[in-house]
């Protein structure tokens, strides 16, 4: 038994409530927008396995708290999977090589026999193969805890969009001696895991700076050339700055001396001049020039305001990455000051 009655809310009150709610929402949106304004957003592009995820890991180690023990352990299945993948690829490769040779014992896969591994450029051996195969006993130990370096080498395909945010303290020399410590906040995005039509979602990243990763060693050179060319021509990136990272320079050094650059179609007209370190430098300059040519070819006259820089990197070398990020930071700040009319 009981009686229930409710008072009809006067229309004006409910309107006022709606108004208040809407105003609250608008305030929040404005706040979030100003908070995000000073974050420098960079999109990483590049062929698979070109080193983008490694950069993410480096940033965690350099600018964030790094990996704790639980996270290090979480990489064990990944590293073991990498080893199994390598063994399978070597085994399949050995079978194929052995088919064409009479001495089939030559290619038997074992810890000592490096014959198959040395033909690594003909089968798709992942770059981490050498590193893990060298430490097989350590990695398979029951109490194995991966080191930071192990984690950097561990390879797992990125799915979805990975993002990482970090701040960098830096001093920027300002006119009139007003030196200030500025904390630059960067947010990096890696959407490389999507295996589909990039053109259907790339416009989501309009307004972001681009960092293009190129793996200098694989046959993906042509794929990257096409990607670079395509991205440069996109209308939504007319005002975007580009940073080209020629990555895996350490591997490039090794390979440049063994395999002539002219093997790649794009570098058909390459002529080696000397040998040793000089040769490597010369080869690198040649590749750099080719990319610069491509950049200017693909950029119309109205895009002269874009900043374009090429950096040589080895994603696994922490010191080098730290230095590179410092250089990138300076370039971007200079660009921002220029745009603001202060330089």
């Amino acid at each position: 038994m009981g009686c229930l009655c409710s008072k009809q809310k006067p229309v004006r009150t409910s309107d006022a409530e709606e108004n208040a709610k809407a105003a609250e929402i608008e305030k929040r949106i404005a706040q979030e927008a100003t908070a995000e304004k000073h974050i420098q957003k960079v999109l990483l592009l590049g062929a698979g396995e070109s080193g983008k995820s490694t950069i993410f890991k480096q940033i965690r180690l350099l600018f964030q708290t790094g990996f704790d023990e639980a996270e290090l352990r979480s990489y064990i299945p990944v590293i073991h999977a990498n080893v199994f993948q390598t063994i399978k690829i070597l085994y399949d490769g050995a079978k194929e090589f052995a088919q064409n040779e009479t001495d089939s014992l030559k290619y038997v896969v074992s810890l000592e026999n490096k014959e198959t591994l040395s033909r690594g450029n003909l089968i798709q051996v992942p770059d981490c193969a050498q590193y893990f195969m060298k430490s097989l006993r350590r990695v398979s130990d029951a109490n194995y805890v991966p080191t930071k370096e192990d984690v950097l080498y561990a390879r797992i395909r990125t799915t979805g969009v990975a993002e990482i945010q970090f701040r960098r303290a830096s001093f920027l020399f300002q006119p009139r001696g007003r030196e200030q410590e500025e904390r630059g906040v960067y947010k990096l995005f890696d959407a490389g895991g999507q295996r589909n039509e990039r053109r259907k979602w790339i416009h989501l990243f309009e307004g972001y700076d681009q960092a293009l990763f190129e793996d200098e060693t694989k046959n993906r050179m042509m794929e990257t050339k096409a990607l670079f060319d395509w991205v440069l021509k996109q209308p939504c990136f007319e005002k975007t700055s580009f940073m080209l990272f020629l990555n895996k320079f350490d591997i490039f050094e090794e390979k440049a001396l063994k395999v002539p650059l002219s093997v790649c179609e794009w570098f058909k007209d390459y002529q080696p001049v000397s040998s040793g370190k000089q040769e490597v430098e010369h080869a690198y300059e040649f590749v750099k020039k080719k990319f610069e040519e491509l950049y200017f070819q693909s950029s119309g006259p109205e895009r002269v305001d874009r900043v374009f820089k090429i950096y040589r990197t080895t994603a696994l070398d922490q010191k080098l990455i730290k230095k590179t990020i410092k250089l990138v930071d300076e370039t971007l700040r200079r660009r921002n000051l220029l745009e603001a009319g202060l330089l």
Binding site: E18, I25, E26, I29, A33, N196, W201
Partner: protein, 381 residues
């Protein structure tokens, strides 16, 4: 069998399929003695007179800080949900143009949004390869955000399009960049059916858009980068009911005709087409003739389409900011919403008609949404 031999057989098979397809196309061409416009002409139909006072922009919804990519009307109560590049979903009261909810998405790259049939939930999908469901009645947390009620994961590529099954709270269909469509059970998060993928009659490129038949919710159509639209029966995932060829570019948008017997498509080739479900034939092409006469890369692409309640009008949004209103029977453009006063300043990326057909909402890369109402003596068309 060696790799070389396999390759040869594959090539021979592909050539056989291509030649069969060509023969089919020619046979169809022979049977197609007329199109919709031709027939209407013989019936003496004239274009309806439509002037710029008949459809007026009565509201501009501002608040997004990035390009608007997608919008959806609620089935009743006149609310709109919109998704934008700034990583937010905003729910608007269409009558007062006030915001009732603003949801900051966990993954900022959203490409699609949809209202549930009872208007209590919204779904969104994008580059995170999944579909997030938000219950609008949930408590907002300290940052003013609504937590994700459910996350539908399982796609291997971006989610380009999602729609709830009409009058069914618990089922949702998504289209994805991994070339498949999936029917989900929202309450459990399970994939009930996967359309395409391993099965041979699925799309061979990214799925960009889906539309569920309003009269028979077991059927839906999907449009893809492989230039085709495919009709699916939700009960039979293993093969598409029919594949519709004709477009020469990505099919960006598909929409069922109000009576569910036909559907329209819009594509990168700048044309809209009307296809018949029962016969599988193309009924009509709606395309503006090129003024310049050359097929330059600047020819506008169709981004989104919608039909009026009677189907007499086809609204088509293009990448150059135009929004043509086509008279579907006569095949003529009767109004360009991109050229009237108060029109959008950028590309119109999405549009949709309200449930009762009295208003059209357009969303644009200029960060606003506009509501257009039928004015004058016309209420609904």
């Amino acid at each position: 069998m060696s790799v070389a031999e396999l390759k040869e057989r594959h090539e021979a098979a592909t050539a056989a399929v291509d030649s069969l397809r060509e023969r089919l196309r020619q046979k169809r061409q022979m049977l197609l003695d007329n199109d919709l416009v031709g027939y209407s002409r013989t019936q003496g139909r004239a274009a309806i007179s439509f002037s710029s006072t008949d459809l007026v922009c009565c509201r501009t919804l501002q608040g997004h800080t990035g390009k608007v990519y997608s919008l959806d009307w609620s089935p009743e109560r006149n609310r709109i949900v919109s998704a934008s590049q700034d990583g937010r979903l905003i729910v608007w009261n269409a009558l007062t143009s006030q915001k009732t909810h603003a949801i900051k998405l966990p993954c900022a790259w959203v490409m699609t949004c949809a209202f549930s049939p009872n208007g209590q939930s919204v779904a969104s999908g994008g580059l995170d390869s999944g579909c997030s469901i938000f219950n609008l009645n949930f408590q907002i947390d300290r940052d003013g955000n609504i937590p994700v009620a459910r996350f539908l994961s399982g796609h291997k590529g971006y989610v380009s399009s999602c729609q709830y099954v009409p009058d069914d709270e618990t089922h949702l269909v998504t289209g994805s960049g991994d070339q498949t469509c999936i029917l989900w059970d929202v309450t459990t998060g399970q994939r009930l059916s996967v359309f395409g993928g391993e099965f041979p009659s699925g799309h061979t490129a990214d799925v960009l858009s889906i539309s569920i038949n309003g009269s028979n919710s077991k059927m839906f159509v999907s449009g893809s980068c492989d230039s085709t639209a495919r009709l699916w029966d939700a009960r039979i995932a293993s093969r598409a009911v029919h594949t519709f060829h004709g477009h020469k570019g990505d099919v960006n948008t598909v929409k069922f005709f109000p009576d569910g017997q036909r559907f329209g498509t819009g594509s990168d080739d700048g044309a809209c087409r009307l296809f018949d479900v029962r016969t599988g034939h193309q009924l009509q092409v709606y395309q503006q003739q090129q003024q310049q006469g050359d097929n330059s890369a600047d020819s506008p692409i169709v981004t989104s389409i919608a039909f009026s309640i009677s189907g007499r009008l086809l609204f088509a949004a293009y990448s150059n900011g135009n929004c043509y209103v086509w008279d579907t029977l006569v095949g003529k453009v009767v109004l360009n919403l991109g050229a009237v006063q108060n029109s959008h300043e950028g590309r119109i990326s999405c549009l949709g008609l309200s449930a009762d057909g009295s208003a059209l909402c357009t969303g644009s890369w200029d960060r606003t949404l506009k509501i257009w109402a039928f004015g004058g003596h016309r209420r609904v068309m």
